[in-house]
């Protein structure tokens, strides 16, 4: 239902899946599975995401660095979290963009070969899947503006999404 997949993402043999959950009761269990490496996924706080395109831009960057062996972090999925953040501080990026045990909603992003379907993983989650289109209801714009350091004047000529994407794409070159 709420699962959106992109097969052969960027011409690779990987399928990108994005799915949004709310009212999750066992996030600590889910996090533990990911941290232990039983499931490969990035667990993102929906409150700091304004649009799926923001995630796509970060994934694109992570895949690029991964395939050129230039990753800053250990795994492809941790790289997605790091790419999403405007900061060059890795643990700070995880803290601001990764979910914590206390939260109840989560945006799950997973890149996998087609043979490994994310269904097994999703069956563990005790919560309600929601359509990706309702993502804006979860976004906390004030936090987004603060985390990405977006001044009001920038929003007079462009959208929050544009400001966010600009920063994700250029963080290795420009630090704000």
């Amino acid at each position: 239902m709420g699962l959106k997949s992109y097969e052969n993402f960027l011409g690779s043999n990987l399928t990108l899946s994005i799915v949004l959950y709310k009212d999750v009761r066992n996030l600590s269990e889910v996090r533990k599975l990911v941290i232990e490496g039983k499931f490969e996924a990035a667990l993102i706080k929906p409150s700091v995401v304004v649009d799926p395109f923001q995630v796509l831009v970060a994934v694109n960057k992570a895949v690029h660095l991964h395939s050129n062996n230039k990753k800053y972090t250990r795994t492809l999925h941790s790289e997605i979290l790091y790419s999403l953040a405007p900061s060059k501080n890795i643990s700070d990026s995880y803290k601001k963009f990764g979910v914590t045990d206390q939260e109840t909603s989560v945006l799950i992003v997973s890149l996998a070969e087609e043979s490994t379907k994310p269904q097994d993983f999703l069956s563990v989650i005790q919560g309600q899947q929601v359509a990706l289109e309702s993502l804006p209801e979860f976004t906390d714009l004030d936090t987004v503006k603060k985390v990405y350091k977006i001044p009001d004047i920038e929003l007079s000529i462009g959208t929050v999404l544009e400001a966010v994407v600009n920063r994700i794409a250029s963080k290795d070159i420009v630090s704000l």
């Binding site: 831009v57 004047i153 000529i157 794409a169 250029s170 704000l176």
Partner: protein, 226 residues
């Protein structure tokens, strides 16, 4: 990333090739700085990498200061490719000015308003120490309808950050030359642009305009003697 050999080539300049692609569902242009065979490979590599970075820096600084530039989607620092928003549904300032000038009923107030807008935008840009490097009326777009004066600056390929009146003066000089040669009999209009620039720039403008005068006398390049 996607294979550029299959992409549509939109333009080829002296510095780069511009392709049009679809980037994750958005119209996108890819700017490829190709290798210059006349340069030593090491020098070429470092120059290209530097210019890519400068371009990104200038564009981002513009946006954070309220000047519209294309959104950057992705930078491939290995192949020196910049993926950015393809701005459609717009006209170049060049075409807009020409159209008004060629129209016997053309409204000169539109041109005056445009000159003021460009002047104040460049004032902000220079105040924030952004040098465009190649200011022409083709590198300025107006989102449709153009009367609303939603100005977008493009092609920061020669852009950089610098706080020197000299460089800002040269930036204006390049625009003046391009402007007057593209649009005949526009000296008065360009003067309007400079007035609006001076007004919005404030204190620093005097020095920049003095430099502009100096550059007009001697040309863009500084003399190597004395």
């Amino acid at each position: 990333m996607s294979d550029l050999s299959k992409a549509t080539l939109l333009k080829q300049g002296a510095e780069a090739k511009i392709y049009v692609i679809d980037f994750l569902g958005k119209p996108c242009i890819v700017k490829e700085r190709f290798q210059k065979t006349y340069r030593h490979p090491d020098l070429d590599k470092s120059l290209t990498a530097q210019r890519t970075k400068s371009e990104i820096r200038s564009m981002l600084r513009c946006r954070t200061n309220g000047i519209r530039t294309p959104v950057i989607y992705f930078v491939d620092q290995i192949k020196n490719l910049i993926y950015m928003e393809y701005i459609q549904d717009s006209v170049t300032v060049r075409d807009y000015v020409t159209a008004i000038q060629n129209n016997p009923d053309g409204d000169t107030h539109l041109l005056e308003a445009l000159m003021q807008k460009v002047g104040s935008t460049l004032a902000t840009m220079h105040e924030k120490n952004i040098i465009h490097g190649d200011l022409t009326t083709s590198n300025m777009l107006l989102r449709n309808p153009p009367e609303e004066l939603n100005l977008i600056l493009i092609d920061f390929g020669l852009g950089y950050i610098e706080n020197l009146a000299e460089d800002k003066g040269v930036d204006l000089y390049v625009l003046e030359r391009a402007f007057l040669s593209t649009h005949p009999n526009t000296e008065a209009l360009f003067e309007l642009l400079l007035q609006s620039y001076a007004k919005d720039y404030g204190k620093g403008a005097v020095e920049v305009l003095r430099k502009l005068d100096e550059v007009r006398q001697r040309g863009r390049k500084r003399t190597m003697v004395g």
